[in-house]
């Protein structure tokens, strides 16, 4: 694959891929490592991708495998027990570098978003693993029910059952949180 094509691919998909990883991995630094691994695999594999499965479904499988490898690595436990830290790595960057990040929302918006996002993700941690996975696929990754079925290999009824439970729980959690 030539570099320009891959650059275009990254422009289109990098945020989706990163979200896919980051919503399933707690430590941002590990998410970055996994992201690099996934992007390298995509670079090697995109040429052979013939659209036999949808691109999003294929990327999800790559991400899932990369995360599974990550969890198989004994080092993940050290990261797991660390307090959940949702920083984006900006703390380690010099101040001038943070200020030139022009396409980011204002500092206040960013903080508010960060708080809200963190709350929602913490609420999602209260779901069962299956519920959380389907909920993430549907509402954070933006998969349709059919894409979820293709990606996970599970039938639609199973997915819907988990998803109904997950949405119901999350609604309750959000009400509790706002109350």
């Amino acid at each position: 694959m030539d570099h320009t094509t891959f650059e275009r691919f990254l422009d289109r998909w990098q945020n989706d891929i990163y979200r896919m990883i980051r919503s399933r991995v707690n430590a941002p630094a590990d998410a970055e490592d996994i992201m690099q691994d996934v992007l390298l695999k995509l670079y090697r594999g995109l040429d052979s991708f013939r659209g036999e499965s949808q691109l999003k479904t294929w990327m999800y499988r790559l991400v899932r495998n990369a995360i599974a490898d990550y969890y198989r690595n004994p080092w993940w436990k050290f990261n797991w027990v660390k307090e959940r830290s949702f920083n984006d790595g900006s703390e380690s960057r010099p101040a001038w570098e943070q200020h030139v990040d022009e396409d980011q929302p204002s500092a206040l918006d960013a903080v508010l978003d960060k708080e809200q996002g963190e709350i929602i993700l913490n609420l999602m941690d209260r779901l069962t693993p299956a519920e959380k996975e389907y909920f993430t696929l549907r509402f954070l990754d933006g998969f349709s029910l059919q894409q979820m079925s293709d990606a996970t290999g599970h039938n639609l009824n199973t997915i819907k059952t988990h998803l109904y439970r997950a949405v119901k729980k999350m609604k309750t959690y959000l009400v509790e949180e706002s109350g």
Binding site: H3, L10, Q14, N15, Y18, R19, R22, S23, E32, M35, Q36, L39, L40, Y43, F86, D88, G89, S90, R93, E97, Q98, V100, D101, D103, Q104, P105, D113, K114, Q116, G117, E118, I120, L121, M124, R138, F139, L140, S144, L145, K160, L163, Y164, V167, K168, M170, K171, L174, V175, E177, S178
Partner: protein
């Protein structure tokens, strides 16, 4: 957080709406259109999901950093591959040479077993001896006449005179020299 309307009448519709999406039946769409509370709850829920998505979206600097590392890794791997390519090619050639010169002769059947239209019989000393054992009795060449005469004569000679005559016959000038 906003106050969420919690009417139980909207509960099922909202769940269906969130899980199935907006591709429901026309009946469902009509019900949804007539229920502002459902739409409000749907909007509220989806807004929360958008907040989570924004939170998970990497900053542009973060992505620049990741992309730089990925390109660095790609270039490193490509450079390593191009550096090792001649070495691998040489190793492959060497391996092929070793295979052809050492291993291949052992793997091929011995020449004696190859049917070369009778030529195999002459391939080794062993087979030559076997051939001699098998074939000589049948195709033994007759002894030269002088040899037959000599051997027959000696064995059958009755006296020294007969032997002398015989030798005279074989070596005519024997007498002249002595």
């Amino acid at each position: 957080m906003n106050n969420i309307p919690s009417s139980s009448s909207c509960e099922d519709q909202l769940l269906e709406l969130l899980v199935e999406g907006r591709q429901g039946s026309s009946e469902f769409q009509e019900r949804l259109a007539s229920c502002p509370e459902c739409r409000q709850q749907e909007r509220h829920f989806l807004d929360k999901m958008d907040e989570a998505r924004r939170f998970l979206t990497p900053s542009s600097l973060q992505m620049q950093r990741i992309r730089a590392k990925v390109w660095e890794e790609i270039e490193r791997k490509e450079a390593r591959r191009s550096r090792w390519q001649p070495a691998w090619a040489s190793a492959a050639l060497l391996g092929l040479f070793v295979l052809l010169t050492i291993a291949a002769p052992r793997m091929l059947p011995p020449l004696a077993q190859v049917d070369l239209g009778g030529a195999s019989l002459y391939a080794s000393t062993d087979s030559l001896e076997v051939m001699a054992d098998q074939l000589l009795p049948e195709t033994e060449a007759p002894e030269p006449s002088w040899e037959q005469a000599l051997s027959g004569g000696i064995l059958e000679a009755e006296s020294m005179e007969q032997i002398d005559n015989l030798l005279e016959m074989v070596i005519p000038d024997r007498g002249e020299r002595t």
